[in-house]
Amino acid sequence: MSNYLETKFNDIHFKNPVIPASGTFGFGREYEAFYDLAKLGGLCSKGLTLEPKSGNTGMRLWETPAGLMNSIGLENPGIDAFIENEWPHLKEIDTVTIVNVGGKDEESYLTAIEKLNAIDAQLIELNISCPNVKAGGMAYGIKAETAGEITRKVVEISRHPIMVKLSPNGEAVADIARACEDAGAQGISLINTLQGMAIDYRKKAVVFDNLYAGLSGPAVKPIALRMAHQVCQAVKIPVMAMGGISDWKDALEFIMAGATCIQIGTINFNNPMAPLEIIAGLEAYCINEGLANIGEVRGIV
């Protein structure tokens, strides 16, 4: 194995900077039929909440030009069931494990984080940016002040490093990132989905029961890239960037914008092999460009 893609995210060692994004990869099991998950830089769990959630009713998916709107609504088994049923499997995979946690209020965030103190994940991705749940979720993530407050409280009680996942739907994203950094976050990930809307003109009705939904896929990439760049300029802590990455060239652009790692989301749905193809593409790029490590082009723009 070469070390072209070895990456440090603070003191966490990633064999490569490519991680499937929360919510597009379940707890990994579905993709084990396609490849050895240990080839990934890391694994990020489906968004978890303290209590199990059955998710949103009605239509949950709607395609747009080069994009996908979703309104899943954080359907998940809850923290306890995750620790009991999924974690024993996940922890055995030889890669960095990231647990994504959301909440509906401060208490539910903190209780969930405390419960996760019982396991040895390498990183927690604090989801303050889900646009598809009515309470909590994105409500914390659209203002620097509230984002900083919840981050501070979570950092205080967690024995894991906290990476805060930011919303593209709020105040200036760099301000929110700085507030999280000041509050003790050890990393930033972005972007969560962009809030959008769909109307079915034939039915004369909105598509989603929850009215608005989250847009992802190649359609959002330029916006995600701009926001990743802004945040990388604004903070010293490492950034894990995502938003419409569908091949190694997209991934490279985010790294050039300053991202330490990148997450692969929606493209997993139409190409289950996408993360491995991106890893292979980045490695080939290093070889072709004569780079010893991908880090040599990180943040060059």
Partner: protein
């Protein structure tokens, strides 16, 4: 990638595509198809219409951008297929009654052919309903003991299920709900659901349906369910 052997118009807006494929495919399973780059973004879940001797057939209706592209493909073109996915129909023991509506008849033909192979003396009756134009009737008629056809009406008005028959239905949700309600409780009824899907393998949770035992994934836990699981009967 699979090589297309044929792709022909069967009826208005309905096409039959046969591709070369080697593997194990159960009736009621589906594949994710795509023959384009990033737009449309998602692959299209299409049920298996038939599978025999390395030839995999899909019967599909053109409803949007993806199926429009599929319809334009020709023999020797390639199409990306992932699968087979989904649980498929269970092995049917005893007599079978099939109720299909529109393009929902697609997976039922492979079911019937498989049933015939496994149950040479079993009785199989088929009800097929279409809104405007019927298609594929001869194929069913060649294997079934009886075919009842309805065009423009409501197939459940003609439906009469015999004691001991296992009922399998696929079609518009309203039709399947009507079948689920019309068939006596003593008969087992299997329904094959349709849903918008992104991944087809159980990761995205986009096709979740409510069942008596909590949320299930149409793509992975289904698409075939026992009627009591998914309909209030």
């Amino acid at each position: 990638m699979a090589v297309i052997l044929s792709n022909t118009l069967v009826s208005a807006g309905v096409f039959k595509m046969t591709v070369a494929f080697t593997g194990v495919v159960k009736p009621g399973q589906f594949f994710m198809l795509r023959a384009w780059d990033k737009d449309p973004l998602l692959s299209r879940p299409i049920s298996v219409h038939d599978y025999e001797s390395g030839q995999l057939t899909f019967l599909y209706q053109v409803v949007g951008k993806g199926t429009e592209i599929l319809a334009k493909l020709q023999a020797d073109d390639e199409v990306t297929i992932q699968g087979p996915y989904g649980n498929g129909f269970p092995e049917i023991i005893g007599d079978l009654c099939i109720v299909g509506g529109g393009i929902g008849t697609a997976p039922l033909y492979y079911l019937l052919r498989h049933y015939r192979d496994q149950n040479p003396i079993g009785k199989c009756r088929v009800y097929l309903g279409f809104r405007d134009i019927a298609y594929g009737i001869e194929a069913f008629a060649s294997l079934a003991d009886e075919v009842v056809l309805d065009v423009g009406g409501i197939i459940t008005h003609k439906l009469s299920v015999l004691p001991g028959e296992t009922v399998v239905t696929c079609g518009p949700e309203l039709m399947m709900a009507a079948v689920a309600n019309a068939v006596p409780a003593e008969n087992t009824v299997y329904v094959s659901l349709e849903a918008h899907m992104a991944c087809g393998i159980g990761a995205c949770l986009g096709c979740t349906c409510e069942t008596r035992s909590g949320n299930k994934k149409v793509c992975k836990d289904g698409p075939v369910f026992v009627r009591e699981e998914v309909f209030n009967v």
